[in-house]
């Protein structure tokens, strides 16, 4: 599992980041926490994209993960970071497994928009339900780590970085298994996969469930990083759009790409907002157009060209 360049790079980079984070100012630590939290969801979307599927509704799972943390906190007083993370991933994964029975039968625009529809149903329910915080959402108490209350956000940053590193290594390994290799095979030719004796529907269902677990985990980590959840920033269709934006910005070439893409997105959005508070979307849109027209393989493809080497799939 750790024998390839990507896994080794992830291990070294993760540990260096953890060390560096100890000396970095808070705003940088925050940017990394938000970026790496989202990167988890992008990893899942990358697996789907390699299969030829794009979801415009993964905020559904992102939101489920975030709200699982909030509800556990408010109703049961659960503050442990690991319990919160597991709960977020589990709730979203269960929902993804159930919804997957429908989604595995659809492709292209129908797949994309059915996901949007489901996320908007959840958005509507949350907005209209007082018990779920309605439009205001919930504030979340600081996460504890195995019973210890940290004084800064650095320990949470360490955990998010470690979780991201482990998830990326696992997804990297998965992509090298037969299941993983079937991603591109299904995108290329579903008929041949079926005639080789493998169920395309089962394979897509598994990939969809994996993407839901990762998006749920991402939502849980984001909720803990931000210290609050609300439907606008966790479940709305714009969140799904952001996730797709970052996926395309990152490129599908390697599991490292979502982490770089998410960080670039965080920095880009922060500075776009600072430069043009009334028109920051213009900068984001222009960036998106540039990516699609000039670097359809995303940031990773640029890095590959600079490095002059083939990616480590």
């Amino acid at each position: 599992m750790f024998n390839d360049k990507t896994s080794k790079f992830l291990l070294v980079a993760g540990l260096l980041l953890i060390l560096g984070g100890a000396f970095a100012p808070n705003w940088i630590v925050n940017q990394f926490m938000f970026g790496f939290s989202r990167a988890l969801a992008i990893l899942g979307l990358m697996v789907l994209w390699r299969t030829g599927l794009v979801s415009f509704g993964h905020a559904f799972y992102f939101g489920l993960g975030a709200y699982a943390v909030a509800i556990l906190d408010i109703k049961l007083g659960v503050t442990d970071v690991f319990l919160r993370l597991i709960a977020g991933a589990l709730v979203a994964g269960t929902a993804g497994f159930l919804v997957g029975f429908i989604m595995r039968n659809y492709r292209n625009i129908f797949f994309a928009m059915l996901n949007t529809a489901i996320s908007m149903v959840l958005f509507g329910i949350v907005v209209k339900t007082e018990a779920l915080g309605s439009t205001d959402g919930f504030a979340i108490s600081m996460s504890t780590i195995l019973g210890v209350s940290p004084e800064t956000k650095y320990p949470l940053f360490v955990i998010i970085t470690l979780v991201g590193m482990v998830a990326a290594i696992l997804v990297n390994y998965y992509l090298k298994t037969t299941f993983g290799k079937l991603t591109t095979a299904i995108r290329d030719n579903e008929i041949r996969v079926e005639y080789l004796g493998f169920s395309v529907a089962h394979a897509i269902h598994l990939k969809y469930s994996i993407s839901a677990i990762l998006a749920g985990g991402a939502g849980a980590l984001m909720a803990m990083s931000l210290g609050q959840v609300d439907p606008e920033s966790m479940i709305n269709w714009t969140v799904s759009g952001e996730l797709v934006f970052i996926t395309i910005l990152s490129g599908p070439g390697n599991v490292i790409a979502p982490f770089i893409g998410s960080l670039v997105f965080e920095v880009l959005r922060t500075y776009a907002f600072e430069l043009a508070p009334q028109a920051w979307q213009l900068i984001m849109g222009a960036t998106f157009l540039t990516i699609i027209f000039f670097i359809p393989g995303g940031i990773w493809s640029v890095l590959e060209k600079i490095g002059g080497k083939k990616n480590d799939k």
């Binding site: 298994t177 290329d188 004796g197």
Partner: protein, 257 residues
């Protein structure tokens, strides 16, 4: 003519597309080890027959039994698991992958590794099997070439090689030599039929080229308007009046002249 017990039994097979009857009460037995050529003009029902046997199209009525097991109603992948595989008129391969990757996926699924999510696909065992397939189908030189860069004939070979790695007992080939040049077609068929004979696979193939039919098959099924109008050895079939009139079109041309 049929010496062995039938491996495939087709009974009263009917396929209708609205008013169009693509298969009209087809009854045929195929014995183990036979090499059967399916001939007929365009629209005669040849590919429809292959599609029904391999589960791509559900028949309107009738039965298809493979080694006694009913195939009608089974999903395509279940038919593959049962031991029937196929190639396509237009090669169905993974165009963004290399020849080696295409075959590795086929081998991995055939070896049930896909059921084990934790199995790496690239193992020494599979690599050795890959080398074997590449040798038998003369695809060594193209191992690292992406499919989209391959010539039509090589894609066809790959399509057939992928269908064969699951070790089927019956293989159906839909127009294996279509799109292959006249100069290459016999070399191509020698590679394919040589490899299939080694494995003792029963082969049914749809073919328009009568030279190929005469050279490689032991039995001919001639289709016309959804019916089998001749079921006989190739020499006899190609000389048969009905076959000449409705399949080869010789009578038709004579009349025109």
């Amino acid at each position: 003519m049929i010496s062995n017990p039938p491996i495939l039994q087709v009974r009263d097979l009917v396929k209708k597309f609205g008013a169009v009857v693509a298969a009209n009460d087809i009854n045929v037995d195929i014995s183990k080890g036979e090499i059967v050529g399916i001939i007929g003009a365009n629209g005669a029902g040849k590919t429809c027959f292959v599609n029904m046997v391999t589960g791509y199209l559900p028949p309107t009525a009738g039965s298809i039994k493979f080694e006694g097991e009913e195939l009608v109603g089974l999903e395509t992948r279940k038919i593959t698991h049962a031991g029937i595989s196929r190639s396509f008129q237009v090669s169905q391969v993974f165009h963004s992958m290399t020849v080696g990757e295409n075959l590795m996926i086929a081998l991995a699924i055939a070896n049930n590794r896909a059921l084990d999510a934790l199995s790496l696909m690239d193992t020494p065992e599979l690599r050795s099997k890959l080398d074997n397939v590449l040798n038998r189908y003369k695809l060594n030189a193209q191992k690292d070439t992406t499919v989209s860069a391959l010539a039509q004939g090589v894609r066809k070979l790959l399509d057939i090689a992928m269908a064969v790695v699951s070790k089927p007992r019956i293989l159906l080939l839909d127009e294996p030599t279509s799109g292959i040049s006249v100069e290459e077609k016999f070399d191509f068929m020698d590679i394919v039929m040589g490899a299939l004979k080694e494995d003792g696979v029963t082969v049914l193939f749809v073919e328009h080229d009568m030279e190929i039919v005469a050279r490689y098959v032991s039995r001919v099924l001639a289709f016309y308007q959804g019916e089998i109008i001749a079921d006989m050895p190739p020499k006899k079939a190609l000389a048969d009046k009905k076959v000449q009139e409705f399949v080869i079109g010789k009578e038709h041309h004579k009349k025109k002249k």
